[in-house]
Symmetry: C2
Subunit: 817 residues, 2 copies
């Protein structure tokens, strides 16, 4: 069943009842000020870093699950009845309810007791503040005497400390209240130079800044005592839990509508200008006041909203398609692109499932995320790549994570996830294919963030390959290290201590356990390097990397081949993992996808066979599971993968990230129908129809969907921040639609369903707009390509002369019968 | 105002209304299974370690503040009305309410709609389980058809991970339900060998183990959907949030009472016997079933309850007093002793303010706590001392914290809190004075937990002194290091980064900043060492330590003296801290107390003058503040102390721990009235009368009470786990009552109020019961002592011949006019 619908025109998902299977989130902000917001206004905000500069307090996994956020209460003076137009936290049965989650905006509207109310939430471009625009209309034929209470619970900045260090925290909370503004200034007296402010366009009738004065010690956000009695107490927080609550009057004639703007902002002062009055510790508000003045005006808010829409229009317009499938259109044109940008902004830090206090950015995560956003923000992608590369180690290896603020590798997690460095190659190549910016390879980039160690980026890529070549095992396959792409396949861990990290514990010397997956990936990365070297005109390197691939390929097809599929790995005892000879975990998805993507087995039928095995053993109606049979018990020599009950997470769920690898592989075999079939199985927009089963948001991908062995099969978890976003965007756009950047130009070579007759696309590529019209003229995937009406011999469209604004491309697919 | 009353007969505090100023907590368990419980049944339980083996999930600083715990719901079938007999979480207005917090027991009772219900919570001795005994009585004259729902939300064992790692945690939850028992077995499949069980003496009508099935996704514990509709759904948790909910029928005739026992337990299995059925991963329940059988029987529960009472009777009976002051009696005989035992069990780990996830035990904390419990559990105190000493460093310095499970020093916090090692001396001496066990000094104890480094404990004490002697500054005073007793006076920190730890950041070489406090403490500790050496007959050491004291004393009285009081320290610039020459922080309490306790200035009037300054500058009706004037802004060279707003925590609050030092000092000057006056100002039982101001529990000490500069002056915070418990017990019993263990025997030398005519005490000391009768015969503090009717010449009662069971002591106080 559905809990709403897609409004593709406004680029919104419209939730039409508040009791969705889980809280459904959206994001606010796309520069330095960010927020999460659920469909009932739960969530929080932060400046740059979700751990260290959090503005709103939020408690994860609470009961109810999503409580705390940006709540407005309305109270009818005549009856004392109060409610939230966002349903939560009061949860009064409303007459109507809609939440429109849009691109950087969320609008929640409802009607109750003859009052309609709508709250729009967004972050203006270029500002470190968020706007809540409340519109209340009196639908009655009598006047309405209402009171509004807008509320926020302040986080004491460091979200982890805020949730754990009460001996200190209950003593440090401080606020100022002046001229209709509540300033949250905890720790401003000491080492912080930043504060938050909360204000309104309407005059404050009263306020509260101490939580217990507003709520009462034993009441929750569902029933604040101040709202129940209709009056805040003008409390000033001294320690405990500072909040900002603004009480205003709303007296409305019949039919009258009023707009009230609330503003929550973050402000930094130069250290030498922190105070207006140092002796009294009064903060200097001179930088905040102009913004407060500006953004409490309706016209300014409206134009900020329009600016935000223009920003996203510009990003999305770089790639728009029309296919016969509404789901694909919606995902490519709106939601998948949006999710890719959110992964760019958030990495894996803050979502409904990620608390924002695990601070590292993944080396592997971020390099893959780039595939999905590089066409929208190529300049920012370039910087991201250079940041990541600077944390690479001199060995060619990589820190598994790095800290976004310091841009340094994270010692706590360390290195030796042996696939990590290869992702840098794929990512740099994706960037150059998109932009043609080969100059990036000459950028001098440090190792391990050490000054003086700088080498050209190209050298970094070379060392990545070298790192793998120097670490091979008994079968000649790459050693797996702590883990490869599957963080939970820990073949050197051997942990028997509860709570010990599977990722950082090492019980073996690491000289035996090998990864077929990395073997396949080396072939893929070496091909990319050879292609890149060719693009650079470096013949020696072309030969070298072709040889690297040629050397590894037979090792993969011998020791890595199980007869019907590619094996996954060899464990520390030298026994195969992911083999028919295993009792459990006989087949894994990852090596099938990676090897076929690398071109291994395309000629000798192994690829075909492997994909048939995937279909037979791993594919389900909810997507393709990661392994089968799932491990039913814990195996010391396999690690975390076997710690999950079968059907969940890395042990037999549909780990969505891997599914596009199979889609891409199917296109390599020319199977457009099969590829698109797999696409649809995990496509959020398709799964919208079974939202009660899927449960997470129907507009974005989740990391996992419970697999066929799980009692809750089809149930998704960990939505929003997943590499699935980038990879599915690649699978559908570059392989199924076949619109693929290459070093030398845009290639159009679709492998889409037989039934599709026509696809059009508009693609900005290296500052040129490509208007692409694809028409099926018969079965099969053969293409005939016409550029500006002239046939060309390859599917790669040559770069047009400089200054060309637009190129018209006509592609005929299939062989006319 | 009061929110209840003390019932000294039953040793309970009886709360008579649920809406106390804050949640008021009690503790359950005193061996290996522990729990916190608020007066409305909030709280949680754990086995041994509050972080790593937590059974019940609890969210600190929630809204409402205290939500989640051991909740029972009752539902009247006829009307659908439901409520909690513990008020929370449903918060229905009840007809009557009482919570009796007792010694290891909490009993919450109420009546509503003609139904009385009482829940008793306790942990039986020798067991790793807790009992909830529900008694429901139908007061109506018609039959009552009720349903009960008993509920617990399981923590996934590691409380920190449980609250942060949802990507994993939402996938691993597992339970079994069999034969009326809910088993929580998350991660049992992998590296854990322990599980929890929850069961009832009544047959389960239905159950839930998935939180959202019980509550609903958008409901809280106040309104579970299953309770609202009167039926659980027999849900089995697969991931998400496992709970245990047992639904039972209670059909009661008019006047009928029924008892239902609920049992929550922790069980470990040997690794090789984890499973009943390994293939199906069915846990082996054979060790749990007999306990379940036993403790679901009313008679067994009643006798376990009586055993618990006997245990505490035995502990408390070691020291009982009758003074003319009911507050002192109540605190000494019941609540202060109880609080001391709780600090023994908990250190600073788990309270309403301490989340239980900061795992270290403080070197300084635990050595001081010992003063309060050594007479009750001397054998366990001995082991604690040896554990602590084994973490001392070879330099004589100490890790600031150590881990109770590994018993190793905590590298994250490190060393260089320069007072730390001296506390070991005071603590070991207190232990030997209590027990006469000089053999403990010969125990071989390691340094830094390193095998092979073992030396006799006596050597450890010597090195502690040596450590200080080797670290003196420009004035010859001891260097302060990271901090001394006041963790927040960080004279070498110089931190300007927000969030940086004041305790572990070091911005200076540490060679200038000195502590007068440590100077005084060195004198005290050296005196103790000399006395100990004398007791051991080691003349050389007597002379050495007397010289150490004699050398330091003039340094303290010169450079450490400000004219009217002792200075606090010298900062890194060599300027005094706690001097009339300072703009803020002119006088501090710590050096006044420590120096006078060490006997410094007793003869030349400095002690008298210092204590007068304390009274004039620091004493308030709510106790004695730590410094004055409080720092109004942050000073880089002072550190965390100046990060608190004035009047709070280390910056100008009544930091209660230090107050008994002044009480003791006043007794040294013979000021019994003054000493007892200070005692009463912070005495919880006295402050009960202003509970609306004090706010924390009226039966235990809190760490701080907001000081005179604070807007919320008189408001206490961080109750239960504070060194105040031990020190006030020492002040009142050893100095005001004057019943003080010495190396050679029990000394009785009271310095109590002039108005007190008579005090009796029963004191178990070295296996002999001392019946002490103290009578005032005139003003002043002179004593005449009679043992078994015979006058002796010193106040120290000679040890009686071996085998003596009881000694009668008569003490006449004062000089007859």
């Amino acid at each position: 069943m559905r809990y709403g619908y897609f409004d593709d025109k406004t680029r919104e998902y419209v939730i039409t009842r508040p009791d969705t299977p889980l809280p459904w989130f959206n994001y606010l902000g796309c520069e330095e000020y960010f927020g999460l917001i659920s469909h009932t206004a739960g969530g929080y905000s932060f400046y740059k870093d979700a751990r260290l500069r959090r503005l709103i307090r939020y408690r994860y996994n609470n009961a109810p699950m999503d409580i705390g956020g940006r709540y407005i209460y309305l109270r009818d003076k005549a009856t004392g009845t109060y409610w939230s137009p966002t349903w939560m936290p009061v949860r009064r049965q409303l007459d109507t309810f809609t939440c429109r989650h849009g691109i950087g905006t969320t609008t929640i509207a409802s009607t109750f007791v003859g009052i309609s109310a709508e709250v729009l939430y967004f972050v203006p471009m270029g500002q470190n503040l968020e706007i809540w625009r409340l519109r209340v209309k009196n639908l009655r034929d009598t006047p309405a005497n209402l009171m509004s209470f807008a509320s926020v619970e302040f986080c004491l900045w460091d979200a982890n400390d805020d949730a754990t260090n009460f001996q200190r925290n209950y003593n440090v909370g401080e606020v100022e209240v002046l001229d209709n503004v509540i300033y949250h200034k905890t720790e401003y007296r000491e080492r912080r130079n930043h504060f938050a402010y909360f204000t309104s366009s309407a005059p404050m009738k009263a306020f509260d800044t101490q939580r217990e004065n507003f709520l009462g010690v034993f009441n929750g956000w569902d029933s604040p005592q101040a709202v129940a009695k209709g009056a805040c107490s003008n409390s000033i927080a001294h320690g405990w839990a500072p909040v900002g609550v603004i009480q205003s009057e709303l007296i409305l004639a019949p039919g009258e509508e009023r707009e009230v703007i609330f503003l929550l902002g973050y402000m930094e002062n130069p250290n030498e200008e922190k105070f207006e009055d140092q002796a009294k510790q009064v903060i200097n508000k001179s930088r905040a006041l102009p913004l407060i003045k500006q953004f409490t005006q309706a016209g300014e808010v409206q134009s900020a909203l329009e600016n935000l829409h223009h920003y996203w229009d510009a990003l999305f317009s770089r790639f728009q398609v029309t296919t016969p499938d509404e789901h694909a259109n919606r995902m490519i044109n709106i939601w998948n692109a949006y999710q890719c940008m959110v992964t760019f902004n958030m990495s894996r830090s803050a979502s409904g499932f990620e608390t924002g206090i695990g601070r590292g950015m993944g080396f592997r995560d971020s390099t893959q995320d780039l595939f999905g956003f590089v066409h929208m923000v190529p300049e920012r992608a370039r910087q991201r790549l250079l940041d990541i590369a600077a944390t690479q180690l001199e060995t060619g290896g990589a820190y598994h994570q790095y800290q976004p603020l310091t841009k340094r590798g994270n010692d706590a997690v360390g290195s030796n996830f042996n696939d990590d460095p290869l992702w840098l190659i794929l990512s740099v190549c994706a960037y150059i294919k998109e932009t043609g910016d080969r100059g990036v390879l000459d950028e001098l980039v440090s190792y391990d963030s050490k000054p003086g160690s700088e080498q050209p980026l190209y050298e970094h890529l070379q060392r990545a390959i070298q790192y793998i070549l120097e670490r091979t095992g008994p079968h000649g396959l790459p050693l797996i290290g702590r883990a490869d792409w599957n963080d939970c396949l820990n073949l050197n861990c051997f942990s028997s201590e509860p709570g010990e990290s599977f990722q950082t514990t090492t019980g073996k010397d690491g000289k035996v356990a090998e990864s077929v997956f990395i073997g396949g990936m080396l072939v893929l990365a070496a091909h990319e390097m050879a292609e890149l070297a060719d693009y650079l005109g470096n013949k020696k390197d072309v030969d070298f990397y072709n040889k690297v691939a040629a050397d590894m390929e037979p090792i993969v097809t011998s020791h890595g081949w199980d007869g019907e599929w590619f094996r996954r790995a060899y464990d520390d005892y030298g026994n195969p993992v992911g083999s028919a000879t295993c009792k459990e975990g006989q087949i894994f998805i990852e090596p099938q996808g990676m090897c076929v993507m690398a071109g291994i087995g395309l000629k000798d039928g192994k690829a075909e066979k492997a994909l048939q095995s995937v279909e037979k053993r791993l594919a389900t109606e909810h997507g393709i599971v990661v392994n089968n049979p799932g491990y039913t018990q814990y195996y010391l020599h396999l690690g975390e993968i076997s710690s999950y009950p079968p059907g969940y997470k890395e042990n037999g769920s549909v780990f969505c990230h891997t599914n596009p690898w199979i889609m891409i592989s199917e296109t390599k075999l020319g199977h457009g129908d099969k590829a698109f079939d797999y696409y649809k199985r995990i496509c959020p927009s398709v799964r919208e129809a079974i939202s009660e089963v899927h449960r997470t948001e129907p507009y974005v991908y989740a990391q996992t969907i419970a697999g066929k062995e799980a009692p809750t099969k089809g149930e998704a978890k960990n939505s929003w921040l997943t590499g699935t976003a980038a990879w599915n965007f690649v699978a559908i756009t570059q392989y199924i639609l076949g619109i693929r950047p290459t070093f030398t130009g845009l290639s159009v070579q679709p492998v889409f369903p037989e039934s599709w007759k026509e696809v059009t696309a508009s693609r900005l590529f290296r500052d040129v707009k490509y208007d692409i019209h694809i028409q099926r003229v018969g079965p099969g995937n053969a293409v005939e390509t016409f550029v500006e009406g002239r046939k060309i011999e390859t599917p790669v469209i040559p770069l047009p002369p400089p200054g060309t604004a637009c190129v018209k491309v006509e592609v005929k697919v299939g062989s006319p019968k």
